[in-house]
Structure formats: C-alpha cells, structure tokens
Amino acid sequence: MDIRIALAGNPNCGKTTLFNDLTGSAQYVGNWPGVTVERKEGRLKGRRDVVIEDLPGIYSLSPYTLEEVVARGYLVKERPDAILNIVDGTNIERNLYLTTQLMELGIPVVVAVNMMDLVQKNGDAISLDKLGQMLGCEVVTMSALKGQGSVEAALRAVKAAQEKKEAALPNVFTGSVERAIAHIEESIAEVVDKRSLRWHAVKLFERDRKEREALDLSPALKERLEAHIAKCEEELDDDAESIITNQRYAYIRRVVERAVRKRAAGHALTASDRIDRVVTNRLLALPIFAAVMAFVYWVSISTVGDWVTGWTNDVLFGEMICGNLRAFMEGAGCAPWLTGLVADGIVGGVGSVIGFVPQMLILFLMLSILEDVGYMARVAFIMDRIFRKFGLSGKSFIPMLISSGCGVPGVMASRTIENDRDRKMTVMTTCFIPCGAKMPIIGLFAGALFGGSGLVATSAYFIGVAAVILSGILLKKTKLFAGDPAPFVMELPAYHVPAAANVLRSTWERGWSFIKRAGTVILASAVILWFLQSFGVVDGALQMVEDNNTSLLAAIGNVVAPLFAPLGFGSWKAAVATFTGLIAKENVVGTFGVLYGFAEVAEDGAEIWSLLAQDFTQLTAYSFMIFNLLCAPCFAAMGAIKREMNSAKWTFTAIGYMCGFAYAASLIVYQLGMLLHGGGFTVGTAAAVLALAALVYLVVRKNRHGRAAGAATSVRAASLE
C-alpha cells in the first residue's frame, strides 16, 4: 500500500517550492473533479511508495471558497495517512490558524516551519520544542527555497503515518465553548467517524452548511445541538462561527507568546515594506504599473514574442515542414488529396497549435516571475477599484492587455485570478478585445470603404472595451454568476526573489497544458474546416476543388447566409469568410481574395478593395466587421477557453454568449443605421429595437441574484458617507 501524505498550508507559504523539491519530475498535474482548481500529485524522490498530494493553498477550512471545499473534501473523505503542514515562520500567527483546524481531523500532523532563515534575519526566534509541546505534534524547520530540511520533513511525516501517531488535541477552546463542543461530541459519537470526532463537532457548532448536508442528522438531535449552540452564543454575545474563530486566534496568541520571541515590539520596516512603499505609493503606483505592463507587452507581444511566433508559423511550419513535406509527397507520387490532408490539414492544424506556444511561454515566463515576486497581488490591489465594477478582478487587466496582441495567451493568462467567478468572467469577455489577427479585417474594410481612415481601427478598440464593460455588468447579474459574494480580502505577500526552478516549471506547465488540453480541439476543427474548404461536389461527385467557390464550405455558406441577412451581409461570400475566420481571423481577408478570384492578396487585401466596395456599403461593412470582431474567436482561442473553463457547459456558454452578443450588436448597428439612412421601419428594425431594449434592461436592472451581502455592505457604506 502506498503511503499518502497531503501538503497543506496557506497561499505563499512556500508549498509549491517544497512540492517540486520533494517530487522532482515525478508529478501529475490535473484538476480536481468538476472544478478548475488545479490538482497536483507526485511521488517522493527516492521513496516511490510515498505519494505526495499538494492541496490548494488555503487560509482556513471554511465551506465558502472552492479551494477550501476541495481541500476539506479530500482530507475528510479520502483521509491521507499524514498531513505535512507548512507554516511560514515570518507570518506564524495567521499560518497557525489553519494548523488548529487540521489537528482536529484526527490525522497525524507534522508542522514544518518554513523560512526560518528569514525569521532569524529579522532577529526573531521560534522555539520548536515549545511550539511542539503546545500544539501536541511534531515540529520541524526547513527552508524550501534553499532545499534545506524538506526531505527530512517529508520523512518525518512518513514516519508519523506509519506509526499512526494521531496529533493530540490541543486545548484550543475554553470554558462554555469547550463544554458545548464536548456535548456535541457525545451526541454525534455514534454517527460520525470517531477519529475525526472533534472536527465534526466543531463544524456542527459553527452551523457549517456543508457538514449539515453531509451528516443528515435526525430532527431531534438537530434540536439538541441547536440548544447547546444557542446557549453558548447567548452567553458570549456573538455568533457561533465568530466564537470559534475568536477562540482559535486567542489560543494562537497564547502559543506565540510562549514559543516565539520577537526582537522588538512595533512595526519595524523590512526590505519588503520598503519596496512596497515605492511600488504601491499613491503617486508612483500607476506609472510603475504602466511601465511594468508596457514592458510585459513589449517583450511578449511586440518584439520577442512576435519574432518567435512569426518564425514558428512561417519558417518552421510554413517552409521547413509544410513546404518540404509537400514537395516530398508530390515527388513520391502521392494522391493530391492525401498531400493536401497531411500538409495543409494535419501539419497546418498542428502548426496552428504549436505556433502559439513559443509566444505563450515567453508571456508565461514573465507572468510567473511577476507572480513569484509578489507583484501580481499588487496589480489586483491597484486595479481593483476599476475592474470590480464590471464583475472582474483587478488581475483581469493582464489578460485584457495581452488579448490586444493575441487572445490565446490572454485567455490562458486568466489563470492568475484566484476567484473562480472573476476568472470565468474574464475568460468570457477577454476575446472581445481586438487581437492582432483581427487587424487585417479592419484594414481591409477601412481601405475598401472608409478611405483608409484610422478612426475605424480606433472605434474597433472602443467597441471591444465597451463589449467587455457591458458584458461584465450584464453577466454579473445573471444566474450564471449568482451565489455567495466573493469577498476581496487579499493578502499582500512579502516580496521575494523568485526561484528559477519554480518559474520555469510553472511556465512549462502552462504551455504544456495548452498543447495537451486545447490542442485536440484545435487540430480536429482545423482538419474538418480544411476538408470542407478543399472538397466540393463537382459533376455529381465529391472531389477536391481548387476554387473555393465550388467547395462544400461555399454550399454551407449559401445555406447559412440568410441568417446574416438581418445584419446586412447575407451573401454567401461573407458567410464563408466568417467561417474561415474561425481557423485564424486573418484568414477572412485571404478568403475574400480567393472568392473574388485572386489567388493571393496583400495583408490588407488592397487588390479587392474596389470589388468589395461594390458588394458592401459602409454600413454593411461596419456591421460585418463588428460581428467578426466580437463573435466566436479562432479555434485556438476556443481551445484555450475550453482549457481554462475545464467544462463543456461553460465553454459552450462562453462561445454562445460571444456569438449572441456579436449578433445583437451588429443587428442594432445595421438596422438602426438603416433607419437613420431613411430605410423605413421594418421587421428588422423592430428586432433591433427589441435587442437594444433587452440589452439596456439587462445592464441596468437590479441584481437579484447573490452578492446580497456585498450589496448590503455597500449600501451601509454609502449611508455612512
């Protein structure tokens, strides 16, 4: 039987470094079932029989956040053989709060105090003996960053697991609270796992809703428990949850007073404090933020990122692999359809997956550094005020910024947002920002119908930003984003020098997960669309066609074109271009070129401007542009969305929402534009007016779902002003 050790600790306590150190490359990264919380498992170096489970970083075992629920579920239901609890020595009071909860589970606990070197540097001292005595478990020290003591700590946990030495219950609760909990323990001893009796009793005392649902107690028993709780609440004039939290922190105070010696009272400034004085300074914070973001963008999108993407797509896949392969296959006398399938469909499809990876790795490298240093939390701190109005997080700024270059890394960058709802909202809206590949579409129509006016591109950005803002406000009021309000109570961790191994590993993990999880979708869709584009029914038989006009895709375009008629571009050519835009948005221009009889056109399609001007008016062109900017992004971005949502339902919801929003926006612009141009009031106009009214209603209506506590708070805050 394998021995299972769970790593538990607060965020930023050095848990990830420890996990990497303990398991090396023998890791499995996945997701906890049904949620987007990452799950990591590995085997201890040199001890293949020991499985290390890296729990999400949490502050408490409350029933409210996803991470906490996942960690609780694992600890209570799967019961690891021992818990290795990592405690940040420089922040020991708050870190021990989780420890007091872990000890109640009746699972052997070993406490590893991390960052001891920093504690000593600050002139403080922690007595391990006293700490161990008071907590009633084994306490060791380590420095995860330097790799000191980590394996020893793990081996202690293994030993504790083998000896089944359960942690003695520390005397956390006092007086009537302890009595009430003891009474509850007595009443439920027969219905719960005896080893974690204390855990269940405390949770019931807190009226923990997850625990109540799980236990399903008889009404008589419930009443008895409620009497104990109510009596205690009355005596202490506080609610049960607060009573427990207060007593835990009071207990920790007693432990810290005995076991920790602080150099001096008061708030001495550490190096981190001094950095923060500048970085989040009222005047300097925004300029520094702008400079950091400009640098990230410049490196990952404008310069290095652009070069590597260009090289991978054009040289590596375009010329070296695709070109040579085609020449080879043609030389070997393969059938043209086979050459096409392999060279254009499969290799081209793989290329469109791999092509994004180098740029993504560069971006993720920068983001990992920012995260590891501790700057990401400051980004949220600085930008929160603006973004929370739209149901987004301050950290949503980075995905949005990156999306103006490319939506794929933009969507993937949303990973840094801890809150599940904020992250989903960011993923759903970030592709509205016009990416680099949408620029040729704008160039094409600006050139063909607007005399090359720069205003067209500017307006595209405005539309993108407006779409994000409107969607944020609209979506946060829907059932999708209903539920408990997510409080913004965020730690600003101390700055520290990033660990190279951590940064590189997390960079690679993100890149690899894109290839693995998004790649399949992208590849399959690219091959299918290639087939539809290259084959057609000619002379009653399915065969390969040179001319896009006779392809299966053109046939499909003809069928769906009427769908776009209310938007003003109901021609099959526009429909086909919209479809090929799903492979990559810049394909829209090339497709128009082919459909108008040009084998190849410039990036902005200058050759077909005059032809396009005959088929489109300024209004229909603008409507087409809006639709293509806002509707479903390219397959690669859809793959990234699927990877980040980790749920088919949410992926379809996101893409469906984008298409619906794009359709409504184009409809409103085209139909109302027609009305202003004296087109008369038609059914289409009525539909547009309805769509506009619905949009306005959805944006301004009261928020009936969830966020109630948050709303109440802001009402109270407003009345205080």
Binding site: S242, Y249, H267, F381, P487, V489, P493
Partner: protein, 73 residues
C-alpha cells in the same frame, strides 16, 4: 461608532466588533481580524480603494465597503 473605513493612514486601531454575516464576515475573521486585534492602516490604493492593513505581522488589503463593517475603538 467609528469603523475601520474612517481610520487614517498611519493610525493603529483596535477592533471592537465585526458586523455583517456569512462568507464575507467569515473570510475577514479567518484572515485574523478578530475582536481585540491591533490593526495599522498602511495606505490606501492609488485610486482610493481598497486599503492596505498591517495586522498579526502581515499585510492585508480590504475594500472600504468591507472595512465599514469593522468597528474600531
């Protein structure tokens, strides 16, 4: 009653009572803002919200709307 929201930057205050209920209150308390704890207001974000606090030896940021639930003495 004065709340944490009204505390000035640089001030050190003692928490008297925490209002509100449910997840927000639990989260605030989980992070160590409990009755009797000393909090120093470090700064306010450049755009005026949220605020940065120092308590129990670490830095925490809370929105002013949530700080208004925390009564101080």
């Amino acid at each position: 009653m004065r709340t944490l929201k009204e505390a000035k930057v640089g001030q050190t205050v003692v928490v008297k009572r925490i209002g509100g209920e449910g997840p927000v209150k639990r989260r605030i308390m989980d992070m160590g803002i409990t009755k009797g704890v000393e909090i120093q207001v470090r700064k306010v974000a450049p755009l005026g919200d949220p605020m940065e606090l120092n308590l129990r030896g670490y830095e925490l940021s809370v929105r002013k709307a949530d700080a208004a639930m925390i009564e101080i003495g």
